[in-house]
Amino acid sequence: MKTKFSGILTLLLAFVVQLTFAQGKTISGTVSDQSGMPLPGVNIIVKNTTNGTQTDFDGNYSITANVGDILVFSYVGLKTLERTVGTSNTINVTMEEDASVLEEVVVVGYSTFRKSEVTGSTVKLGSEKLTDVVVAPSVDQALQGKVAGLTVSSNSGTPGSTSQIRIRGISSITAGNEPLYVIDGVPMSNGNINTSGATSFFSNLAAFDSNNIESITVLKDASATAQYGARGSNGVILITTKSGKQGKTKFTFSSSYGVQNDAVDGPEPLTAAHRLELASEAYFNDGFFATKADAEAYLLGTSTYSSWDAAGRPEGNWKEVIKNKDAVVENYSLSASGGNENSSFYTQLGYTSQEGTVIGSSFERINGAINFSTNLTDNLKLTSNNQAAYTYQDAFLERSAYFEGARSAPFFLSPLYQPYNDDGTFNEFGGSLPNPLYITKYNINDNRLARIVSDSQLSWDLGNGLSLSSKFNVNYQVYNSRSYSNRNYGYGAATSGDAGQYTRNTVDYTFQNQLNYSFDLGENHSFDAMLLQEYSSNRRYFLGAYGENFADDGLFNLDSTGNPISINSNYTDFYLGAYLGTLHYSGFDGKYVLDLSYRYEGNSRFHPDERWGSFWSVGGAWNLHKENFISDVNWINNLKFRASYGVTGNANIGLNQYQSLFSYGVDYNGQGAQVVNTFGNNKLTWEKSNTLDLGIDFGLLDGSISGSVSYFNRKSSDLLLNVPLSLTTGFSSQVQNIGELTNKGFEVELNVDVVRSENFNLSIGGNIGTVDNEVTKLPLDPNGIERTITTTITRIETGHSVRAWYMPTWAGVNPTTGLEEYYINGVDGATTTDFNQAEAAWQGDNAVPTLTAGLNLHVDYKGFYLDANGYYAGGHKIYEGWHRYTNQTNAYPIFAFQGLQSLLDRWQQPGDIARNGKFTSAFTPWQRHSKYLYDGEFMRLRSLTIGYDFKDKLESIGLTNAQVYLRGNNLLTWVKDDNLKYDPEVDLGGQTGLETPPIKSISFGLTLNF
């Protein structure tokens, strides 16, 4: 029976085959992308015929063809494939990204263009590039090392903290240098929202889950940023959130779990035994005792030392006890996406929890998103993107040397004190620094934020290339912070405890109305024109109160305080209105591209007469590879020259600076009072930047080598400068439009696919950015003398970079006297031991790296893959903050506070060659000089990931794709300067501080698609 059936079948098949030879046969199959996702809308034609079809929503197709015909599969942005029809009726294909054409679309300002038609300097990062840094919950950290000319430095390693980003250097001296964030087309402010200047930085950007971000585009040049007018000068970071894709609903679950520690161990503090030795030596040096032994005997007779001695000389190791070793970080996300012809959706739920590496600090976020779009009619489309998050940060006192801050303890608290009593309870010792373990356990500093960003847009396609859209965005934030000091121990004890509650509601509305018109003039000239009106109102409502005196423990709220001390509320607002017109021309299929933009913008920060400003840009591109004489050169796939020039602005100064103002925030004798608190300047207006950008984008050898080279020159003028005033005016400075500075540099991005094959791929990429910053003009005083802006360690003066290091120059320790010496003229020659006689001098560089680079490596073999990212920064210097108290041979490190072991290298007797002079028991004043200025150059292995991609191997259990990986962040750090013991990644102020240092982590992750 069975044999018979087979025979019939064979016969039948032969007949069918015969039939198809004559009439053509039906070929069917599925087209999918590299990750196994079916691709809808792929064009399939039989080569050299008009016979064609498209794949459906599940990536399936069927087409009639003859054996020997060639099927051509094409899809925008993917490499076109050809398959010859053979005996099989099924042809499944996997399409790969086409690196040679890369016709991906790039969001540029308010418009979206094909990449080849972008005239400016932009870098687009897809979601896969944004999720490799787990050490920070906010996405800004992920940008480090991935965009040439962009530097990221975090304010603190405490989870939920902010980062400082600079794109192409410092464009302003006083006004803000932070780039503008644009989320789904709407500019919005992001940054630190902590109402306290003492406790941890708290970022509202951390309320966005990177899992929801489709891509980030960084706009660097004027042709793109001029569209953002007054806020574009510092560059623009465009964040596009994920949207639904047509097709059946797909789910993605991802999770990771990791442990974190400080990336760099940091300096070693002195031990108690060291303190005794050094204190004795100081007394001996000062002549109080005939021998060091006498001094030691005296010290051992004093109370603190004698009890320490009697207890068997235990060492209080504060550096270790304030660590939260192997701090846990975990991250979960579940998303679903799908849609049909008329509507699509994306929705997500995420949870992140991250402990800090310092006791008593952590961060938590729960967030959700729902993005959908639907065609209300044939030509009316509604899109709505909505994200909501609740974040919580357990913060602590870290932004200065707070005596109650856990991170102050290793550097300021004497190891003569023990953390614990013999019975294991906290040791409640006296002194100006209380036991941080007790404080951390019983005091409270926390921050909470609920943030909702809702963005709705109605688009009306009027036909004939005309469309109109209207967008409304709400950015609503409810912030609350709480402080509590216990009534038993520490600084709250004197007042029987204290508590504060502070809340700020932020309500930002943005309206955008946009009219687009696309038209062609003849066959070869196409135009996209756009008119836009934008209005944004930003309001802040603050309420806070503080009280003292609790009747009992365990009460934290103001209701329970016996003595209400202060109540505060305030309201601030600012507004912005703008009109924008852009014109995009593409000639001869994108061979020639021209962009024009003009923006007229008003900002409430300026006097009504100075409120409106004009910004514009011109950009052009020439796609050389589309020229006939190049298109034949087959190793050149892509070659574009681009240039742009334009004017952008900066208005990022405090509110209401243009008028002389009385503030009523003072009181006297229980009555309200007022003092003049703003000097005012009616003539204040926009700070402007003129930016020239030239570049070449290229793709060679079938796209295996691609990259770009750019040059930029940004000249900022009419700087909004806090011009120092004579203090006799009652003010220290006045904001004026004066001064000029330039930033120029080169940027190179390069990616090389060394090996490309089905089973093995190897690619190396990297970027380098340089920036040369120079102040070219500053105000003069009536005597014609330039009014430099000088601090104890920096100076702003023409001919130098902004805030270049400027301080007396250390000349070493005199081997005969043991005294530290300084060059009298600040440079060379004669020295002095009198610090006040030493002239300050330029020390070269400032705190901003002049050369930054990123390097990435990707290897995959069958399912296994390895990704590595490195970051380099150099050409800058870092100053050691707090050295007077911790790293100088005076009384602070050995009597009042605590010192570092680098002090052991000190002069003790004539002839000694030492880094530090002889110890003294005197409290020396702040003397900042070049000994504490270090070369900031460093390299860091930012991320290293090893993983396995199951692809479709798990389909049997219902998984379309799965990945597992092991990831390390900041595993290795190389620092050039041996004297720099702190982590080299400091904030852009350039001084080492007591904030939580950057973190290294090892995590395990899993992603499932089903």
Binding site: D286, N563, N656, Y668, N669
Partner: protein
Amino acid sequence: MNKVFKLTTIMALSILLFNSCGTDDIEPTLAQDKPVEGSITSVGNLFSILKGAHSQLTSGGYYGQAMIITNEVRSDNCFSNGYSGRYSTQAEYAYNENTGYIWDNAYQVIANANIIINQPLDGLSGDLDHGEHIQGQALGLRALGHFDLLRSFGQQHTTGGNLGVPIITEFKDESNLFPARNTVDEVKAAIYADLEAAYSMMDTSYDSKLYFSKYAAKALESRVAIYFGDWIRARDAAKEVIDSNIYTIASAGSFVSNWTIDQAPNSIFELENSASDNAGIGGLAYIYRWPTFPATGYGDVQVVDDVYAFFEAGDVRRDILGYQLEATGATPSLRNMGKYPDTVTYTDNIPLIRIEEVVLNYAEALFEINNADPEALTQLNSITSNRGATPHVSVTKQIILDERRKELMFEGFRFDDLVRTGQSIDVLGSNQNLIQTLTYPNNLFAYPVPKAEIDANSNMVQNTGY
């Protein structure tokens, strides 16, 4: 037809949308602040600014702490033990132009005082007599500010000649935004002129001890005159205060307790601190002593050991002193326990002028004018008789200075008394160890002008030695 409809719709919508934002739509709200120009319409507004200026005096950078403490730690009364690192720079005379001092604070007070002084009263609503009184008070504060600047930065006790400080008499004076230094004599003359005008404009019916007052002007004039040795002016000014009979010398029984109450009978002008408005741990109480045992907080400013023996037994002023232990078994440290005593709520008012100082000013002036004037002894003993101290039988300059030291200890007078009488000063380290002795005159007796001023104003000349 369809095309026409579409075009019309687009036109209509465009006009609607693109016409909806203008300059008025982006006008910011001034919710907490008001413009200086045009917002002063009543005498009440002037009073509000005056209160603001008083509030500025209470800041920790001025009379809330620095002005008083600095003049104590640089004298033979006190030293800094470096417990929290505060004031050791000043105590060891190790300051430089980056140290910073009251320069900015004093000129802020002067800026607000000038807004009051230069406001025409015509057209203001309210009690214009009170308005004139307020302008007198502002003149008094301006004089106080200039005097504090002069005694801190003037070159009168250095080798640096006759440089004083800039005299500022107008807020935001575009013609004087980069002032040069006036001479010591010019500043002194300006202070006297302001105080005389202040006295004549004020009316005692508006007086309060919590604000600069009519007799505060005279009392301050006597202080300034003593400082510069203008003895007749000092005598006359002090006499007017004493003869007003408004203020009474504290009795032996109330001397210590007066420091715990507000507006005591011996107080002429004091700065108000309340539970909700005070310098907190940045104030005087917290720096003079530890708030708890074992020691916590700051408590950097310790009293020199031999001060205790400076008072005779029975002198109630010795009761201001006390000993504190850092921890069990530690060496007791001598402390100011009685003046500005509140380390819990920090609500002690800060007396800036009290009658006893004026009496001592008067006695000294009388003695300097005629060292045989018996009234000098009488005035001096009006203090001792209220302190449980042995009356003096004769007067010498040293006796007067010693009496001033006992009476005014910890109140910020001692440094000025030492330098104005040309004495050397021993510099003590954190262990009360003698670091050096500074002979008179000395460049360290004047603070350096802050670097920020030098950098912003090329007309400014730095003090000699910095």
